[in-house]
Symmetry: C2
DNA sequence: TCAGCCATGTAATGGGTTACATGATTGA
DNA sequence: TCAATCATGTAACCCATTACATGGCTGA
């Protein structure tokens, strides 16, 4: 009853989740998010993190501890309370499954590709190919690192998540390659004549 | 100069893009979005579509035509203007590539899986497996349908987009299967004892 | 008769971003 | 000396959703 933890936004749980690893300041959280959940969820603006921490504190899900430091600004370190831990667990296994809606700007542009030139689509796809290939290499590095750090306790979840990223990066790469091939094919067959012409009207 | 089309949100271009296929009313656009870009981008609320159309009209990118109907409410049909068509093309091939950031709720939950029970993660993953398998079948149906409708003109872009969806659905399926296997493995090895216990603290 | 489609909107709320503001310390 | 790091926050803005409102027609 008291504080209903049910209607908090996803972001709240993302922050609670990060704090489940260790107590952190707002600044720390931003760093941490950039190099963890930023890869498969998103990384909040720092202003939002601070706002979020205030909310969680008010809801009694985290505690705030003022930490004085020498030679650098003081900080406020946040840690989960028991009810914060509970809310997190409840969110993970207590709330219903909902489909991932994934929003691809690139696919949107390709879908409307009839209104542009095939060349520019190919260029976009090639950039995606490059970007995702790099990402894949990065993820595979992380995977090895994770394995090397011992088959221990909680690395399993990190590992599974990284592998998810790897699967999706590969999908993006394969798709880009296929699409480029098909667009180049089209250029070759119906080449010559008015190049960037749009047919309708 | 006049109306700078550069700083419009993505949504504006999504609507312009749909109107590039044919003139439509707000109501039509909602239907159309649900069964096209809704699969790989997202489907706006209807209230937003109407708002968007007002904006595009004010910017001179679409025209509005009042159409009277018998036996059902009148409607306003929107069509691209030449500058609307131009803005769309400019957005597709004139604006820079930017990485797709994909936001997976499921991966977020898995990442924080140490705070929950493996069983519930497995359950979530199985639901995802089912959901994505169904989606895959649907997409493959659309693919065949698209191929059957003639190798014509603009079906190529639709086809490429559908295939993108297929690649990502397969990735999601493969990942889910892998993850389930690994979590079940973990249950088997370290089973017995305190089951839903979280270690830290 | 009653649900559901057709058709368009307003109002309230909230999630999230960017830009602005401050200020000490450290290393190139 | 100058940029970057550490550290926290305010203000303005806007994208987007949900809930509410209206009302005739159609088919089971």
């Amino acid at each position: 009853m008291a504080t209903q933890t049910t209607d908090l936004p996803q972001t709240s749980f993302a922050v609670l989740g990060m704090l489940s690893f260790q107590p952190m300041s707002g600044y720390d959280l931003k760093q941490f998010a950039d190099r963890s959940i930023g890869h498969f969820y998103w990384s909040p603006a720092k202003s939002q993190i601070y706002a979020e921490l205030r909310r969680l504190k008010k809801a009694g899900l985290v505690t705030e501890q003022h930490v004085e430091q020498e030679n650098r600004p003081d900080k406020r370190v946040y840690a989960l309370t028991p009810s914060g831990r509970e809310a997190l667990a409840e969110w993970i296994d207590g709330s219903d499954y909902e489909k991932d809606v994934f929003k691809s700007n690139l696919m949107l542009r390709v879908f409307f590709g009839a209104s542009a030139s095939p060349e520019s689509l190919i260029s976009l796809l090639k950039q995606n190919l490059e970007s995702e290939t790099e990402k894949l290499a990065q993820l595979e590095g992380m995977e090895q690192q994770c394995i090397a750090s011992g088959p221990g306790h909680d690395t399993l979840f990190t590992l599974i998540t990284i592998r998810g990223g790897i699967h999706f990066a590969r999908a993006s790469i394969n798709w880009s390659q296929d699409a480029i091939k098909e667009l180049e094919e089209r250029l070759r067959t119906q080449a010559v004549g008015a190049p960037a012409q749009r047919s309708s009207r």
